[in-house]
């Protein structure tokens, strides 16, 4: 297999001391960073055509390089667009170039704003997803599961397992992730197999994803060990029965969030994490703990409340909890406080993450937090459209793993 060529469109990476980290991350997933060649005269022409004329000349070069990709003058398999965090001009160009690349090419693209502290490890999942989309197109196009397969999603907060047979879920289980990821995975897999009425010898293939995927994958000798962006996308569109056409998948996780746009179930743009814990499922868990209720009951409680009645505008889990304590101290209703917590998470996901993608319809909300009805309601209010929450929405990673691993049979 030839090396995957990821075209880098960037400004400031060299002077920020992070270029080496970007190239290391690409190398780690078997890819190579390449730079579309452009001549000086092409820069002016590109700016005239593109219509955005930034003052920074390195941003001008980015535009010319993007034009070179769109015109097929330079061959690449994927695109990585990155600029300095907090540069307004760069943020504007980055987003418009991402849109331009998507409109004019079929190349998967990811955007990222970096600081001088960027390390290769932070980019690994993104780079891996770009490579997966390019190298496993046929596998990702798979719409039906066949045989008996298992999927394990070793996530940061919970571990899930699913057993599938002939395109149906026949067994499933989840539990909070323990300190030893293999033990937790063994436990949920055993329970899922028990529910399915199958034994390990019956499992024809296994796929795994999530933070613990490499350890779990090695332990179970999985045929598929793949990052969660592509695996979760497949699981989400399968569960929602939206395998064809466009959609946006929102996965508000325990430790990070993912927003992925898909076309026929294959991601072409995604954003991931990079924001405060105040915008994650962890904050809702902290809220439930403070209210002394079960996280499962938080959603129903929030649905009955009005978020506007309780102040909750801190973009940080620590100060968010302070707001919550203040509201409770003022005697606000639990329902209103629960609704405010859900609204705060939804608003932050919208403001900080969904701006990096063009939201496509329908919106499919998945992951464990999609079971919190108050959060789903809040996401719908913020986005102006009620998201689809498919059945078994917390099992997307495990379903994606079982579905894709059947492609190896």
């Amino acid at each position: 297999m030839s090396t995957i060529r990821i075209a880098q469109l960037s400004c400031g990476t060299e002077y920020s001391g992070v270029q080496f980290e970007i190239e290391s991350a690409a190398r780690a997933v078997g890819a190579k960073i390449v730079y579309p060649d452009v001549s000086y005269s092409q820069v002016k022409e590109a700016l005239d055509r593109f219509g955005f004329k930034p003052k920074s000349t390195q941003l001008q070069l980015m535009i010319a390089r993007a034009m070179s990709l769109a015109d097929r003058k330079f061959e690449a398999d994927a695109v990585f667009i990155t600029t300095c965090f907090r540069c307004a001009e760069a943020a504007l160009v980055r987003n418009e170039l991402r849109r331009f690349i998507q409109e004019n090419t079929r190349l998967p693209v990811v955007t990222y704003s970096f600081t001088e502290r960027l390390k290769a490890a932070q980019l690994l999942t993104r780079m891996e997803a770009l490579v997966t989309i390019v190298t496993r197109k046929e596998l990702l196009a798979r719409e039906r599961q066949s045989g008996i397969t298992a999927g394990i999603d070793s996530g940061s907060s919970t571990t899930k397992a699913v057993i599938m047979e002939n395109n149906k879920i026949i067994g499933k289980d989840w539990t909070p992730s323990g300190a030893v990821v293999v033990e937790t995975a063994e436990q949920v897999l055993a329970n899922a197999m028990k529910e399915a009425g199958v034994e390990m010898k019956d499992i024809e293939a296994m796929g795994t994803t999530g933070y613990g995927r490499f350890t779990v994958g090695k332990h179970f000798n999985c045929k598929l060990i793949q990052e969660e962006l592509t695996v979760n996308s497949k699981g989400a569109v399968w569960l929602a029965n939206r395998q064809r056409g466009e959609a946006t998948i929102i996965d508000i996780g325990g430790m990070d969030n993912k927003a992925i746009t898909v076309r026929d179930g294959i991601p072409d743009n995604f954003t991931m994490g990079g924001i405060c814990a105040g915008a994650s499922g962890r904050f809702l868990q902290m809220t439930a703990n403070r209210l002394k209720i079960d996280i499962q009951d938080l959603g129903a409680m929030a649905v009955k409340g009005n978020w506007a009645n309780a102040k909750m505008n801190s973009y940080c889990s620590v100060f968010g909890i302070q707001d919550l304590v203040t509201s409770l101290g003022e005697g606000k209703k639990f329902e209103d406080v629960a609704a405010a917590a859900c609204h705060s998470v939804a608003e932050q996901v919208y403001e900080q993450q969904l701006q990096e993608i063009d939201v496509r319809h329908p919106i499919i909300e998945v992951g464990g937090t999609s079971l919190i009805s108050g959060l789903v309601k809040a996401v719908g209010e913020v986005l102006g459209e009620e998201p689809i929450v498919p059945p078994h929405s917390q099992y997307i990673g495990a379903v994606g793993g079982a579905l894709l691993s059947s492609g190896f049979l």
Partner: protein, 145 residues
């Protein structure tokens, strides 16, 4: 036809567009609407937090709030415009939004919409001024009603 003017608060452009039979889309109108008809008290222009959040449609959260607030006003007008007139290198006495990043994005959004757009240089003497007015008159006259 609805003609977006850039700078969006240029009284001269506003007058020219109106004089030649079209509807100017300007910041004056949108700000007047906010001041006269919306029951909020956020002087001087009644741009609120909600407006700045709405500006996210045009620029991401990493982009400073002043740009997003401005774009929440100009963005919908650019979307509604049938044509646009842009004055390049205008001094701020001619009309100005005070932010070069907002200017860049405004020009880009006009370009992306693909609507008929006239870009003219700001005149430095009377002869050039007459040429500029002539160009604007021809452009506006050529727009189909």
């Amino acid at each position: 036809m609805k003609v977006f003017i850039d700078p969006p608060n240029s009284m001269v452009l506003f007058d020219l567009v109106e004089r030649f039979g079209h509807e100017p889309l300007s910041s004056m109108a949108v700000i007047q609407e906010k001041i006269d008809n919306i029951e909020v008290d956020m002087p001087p222009m009644n741009v609120t937090l909600d407006d700045v959040v709405r500006g996210l449609k045009y620029a991401g959260v990493e982009v400073p709030s002043g740009i997003r607030g401005r774009m929440s006003l100009w963005g919908p007008m650019i979307e509604a415009a049938d044509a646009a007139i842009i004055i390049d290198n205008a001094p701020f006495s001619f009309g100005c939004v005070g932010c070069d990043r907002s200017n860049e994005l405004t020009k880009y959004l006009i370009h992306r919409r693909g609507i008929p757009a006239l870009t003219v240089k700001y005149p430095t003497d009377e002869a050039e001024a007459k040429i500029m007015v002539g160009q604007i008159k021809d452009f506006l006259g050529g727009l189909k009603q």
